[in-house]
């Protein structure tokens, strides 16, 4: 139990620290790297809660795909972040005001929060029980059995998004020479090399 406690505080502290670093790092590439670190810490927290599937998905999807995509975007788009931050100080009062309003609203909501008396009991006894199925299995049962229609339909939505992105952006430019390895290899010496006798001082 004490080991779990230590692990929780280590993960949580690192998560918060790397979260702060994401927004305070000067170099955007460092920001993304800290974001990846934050994802790993969050995955660790999920693991502690017994949500091993979510933890793995977090690492695979967020670290493997999303963060790498961010990294690409940050490196490809030449955005001058220092320029962007220039006006930040002038906008500070307004930003602070919005932040304060949000904080007051949150305080109002949390202050009026009443936890239903039987929530702890329900949360403590998930259905189906963990003794019977692992949560990967339980998620799979939901996604591929109960909501299989929605799962398939979402697949089609993603397919349409992919087709759409290609249709609207892919351009075949004329005049671009592409390597055709077949033709290249099939070339014979006789077709491309001609031997001429050149008289000295006259040229071809």
């Amino acid at each position: 139990m004490i080991l779990q406690g230590i692990a929780f505080y280590v993960f949580a502290a690192l998560l918060v620290a790397s979260g702060v670093m994401v927004i305070s790092a000067r170099n955007p590439v460092h920001s993304v790297l800290f974001l990846i670190l934050a994802f790993f810490q969050a995955a660790g927290l999920c693991l502690l809660m017994g949500a091993e599937f979510i933890a793995m998905i977090l690492v695979i999807v967020y670290v493997g795909a999303v963060a790498v995509l961010f990294l690409f975007v940050v490196m490809m788009l030449d955005i001058n972040f220092r320029e962007l931050r220039k006006g930040a100080m002038e906008a500070l009062p307004l930003g602070a005001l919005v932040g304060l309003i949000l904080l007051a609203e949150l305080a109002a909501v949390v202050g009026g929060w009443i936890v239903a008396p039987n929530v702890a009991a329900i949360a403590g006894a998930p259905t189906p029980s963990i003794d019977q199925v692992s949560n990967t299995q339980a998620l799979g049962r939901l996604m591929y059995t109960q909501y299989v229609y929605l799962f398939q339909a979402s697949g089609i939505v993603l397919l349409i998004a992919m087709i759409g992105a290609i249709v609207l952006t892919l351009r075949h430019r004329p005049g671009v020479h592409k390597q055709n390895i077949g033709v290249q290899i099939a070339r014979r010496r006789e077709e491309v090399v001609a031997i001429r006798k050149v008289t000295t001082g006259e040229g071809v």
Binding site: T145, Q146, Y147, Y149, A153, V157, I160, I163, I166, L168
Partner: protein, 482 residues
């Protein structure tokens, strides 16, 4: 707990369409853009086959996929309408896309996926499946609105539609989440059962209901959520506009009908005023603002807003006759709408598309057949007997009078008179003004076919109205059976 394989037969048209969409995509990818015409033909065949599959469903109500999906006679009628109008829209796009150098095989494939989304909307039986169906449709439509990507107007149309569409999806989702919060379920059947049992209707739920209806009103482009329509209709390539004005409207009207009749069938007192306001605003804006238009596509946009208003009149009554009126109206509306767009697509001089209303001047002298066809559609849209459009309005207004919605019926008739002005103005321009440009002959067989079919249907509907009237009656009855 063992998993039971869901009953997939009610979803056969959807499954067939999804698989054929993927297959045609592969075909296009491997054969390249030169293969666009075969892919388009195949996509038309697939849509019509899916319509036959839908018709083969029969009757009776089946709920499957754990309550996500419902199929009944209402679904059959609406799906056939959607599929047939989508197939016509693909035909309209064939020649245009080749002339305008935007002929790419993704076009019919995206149309198939948009149609698939519409079928899913028609069969939604849960707020989540409603949303997923709606997004499947919308996402494909955003892309085809911007399909002519070299044109600033088309890109603008796509972007505008995307931004406003996302906003409306947000409203719909917010409404659905409120309904879920206050009703405790997203399933249409369970919500219906809850209120059939006389559960307390909390204000939160009513707000949710209004948000859901606002989101759907955006999709049918009913006023006051119509702002996107004229710009998108004008900017999008014309075949796409024809598609927008037909199939997605039918699907969204079907969805709206199902939502107000099934889960909220017992809350008529709550949604009635919302629909009345929307219907009146749509009819008024659709008829008055259209008078000022000079571009024929913008005119059609306002005309479609007006037509949605008339269809909503039927829905407001909340009666079986009212719903039957809506279904008949939509069936006749898409026929004359596709026909009118076929004429607009045939309007070109020396290969240049003509989109201004003044370009129609003297059409009766330069191309009498085309002028006569357009006159049929305009008379029909104005609601002049014996054209099809008259019967659409007749059944809707009859239902409104029977349900003692006199205000709506009176406003409807008055705005029809105003609407008749601008429809008849086009006929006047075609027949009594001097020709300005010489319009090319219609050289596209598919286009000729569409023109002949839709104009004959519109002209001769009164000879044999039984199939559509009976189909609509059966569909409306299915919605009230449960």
């Amino acid at each position: 707990m063992t998993a039971v394989f869901p009953d997939i037969w009610p979803a056969l048209p959807e499954i067939f369409l999804a698989l054929s969409g993927v297959a045609l995509l592969m075909l296009g990818v491997f054969r390249g853009d030169g293969f666009t015409r075969p892919v388009s033909y195949l996509s038309i065949v697939c849509m019509l086959l899916a319509a036959i599959l839908a018709m083969g469903y029969g009757s009776g109500r089946v709920v499957t996929f754990n309550g996500m999906f419902v199929m009944d006679a209402f679904g059959v009628f609406m799906k056939v309408l959607v599929l047939v109008s989508a197939a016509f829209a693909v035909i309209l796009g064939l020649g245009f896309n080749e002339r305008e150098q935007m002929s790419r095989f993704e076009f019919p494939v995206l149309m198939i996926f948009a149609t698939l989304g519409m079928l899913m909307m028609v069969s939604a039986n849960d707020f989540i499946s409603l949303y997923v169906g709606l997004e499947t449709q919308s996402l494909a439509l955003y892309v085809i609105a911007a399909f002519r990507r070299d044109s600033g107007k088309s890109s603008e149309a796509g972007l505008k539609y995307f931004v406003l569409g996302s906003l409306s999806s947000g409203m719909l989702l917010y409404g659905a989440s409120l309904v879920y919060g206050f009703a405790g379920t997203t399933s249409f059947d369970k919500v219906a059962a809850l209120f059939a049992g006389g559960a307390h209707v909390s204000p939160g739920l009513v707000i949710g209901l209004v948000f859901v209806m606002a989101g759907l009103a955006f999709k049918v482009s009913a006023a006051p959520f119509h702002m996107w329509t004229p710009d998108v209709y004008e900017g999008a390539p014309t075949p796409v506009t024809a598609f927008f004005a037909a199939a997605p409207k039918v699907a969204a009207i079907a969805l709206l009908t199902r939502v107000v009749m099934e889960p909220f069938g017992h809350l008529a007192a709550q949604w009635h005023q919302v629909l009345v306001a929307t219907a009146i605003l749509s009819m008024v804006i659709g008829s008055f603002v259209a008078i000022m238009q000079t571009n024929i596509k913008r005119l059609m946009a306002y005309s479609s807003i007006g037509h949605v208003g008339y269809a909503l009149v039927g829905l407001t009554t909340g009666t079986q006759d009212g719903v039957r009126g809506v279904l008949i109206y939509m069936a006749l509306y898409i026929a004359m709408n596709i026909g009118a767009f076929a004429v607009i697509l045939s309007m070109k001089a020396k290969g240049q598309m003509l989109e201004e209303i003044k370009d129609f001047s003297g059409l009766s002298k330069t191309n009498p057949m085309l002028a006569a066809t357009m006159a049929i559609f305009m008379f029909s849209m104005a609601g002049i007997p014996p054209m099809a459009g008259f019967f659409g309005k007749l059944y809707v207004f009859l239902a409104a009078v029977a349900a003692q919605e006199y205000t709506l019926a009176v406003v409807g008739v008055l705005t029809s008179v105003v609407g008749a002005f601008y429809y008849l103005r086009i006929i006047k321009i075609m027949y009594f003004d001097e020709p300005a440009v010489v319009v090319d002959k219609v050289d596209d067989d598919g286009m000729t076919g569409v023109l002949v079919l839709t104009s004959l249907f519109t002209l001769l509907f009164f000879v044999a109205p039984a199939p559509i009237l009976n189909g609509a009656a059966a569909a409306a009855a299915a919605l009230f059976a449960g």
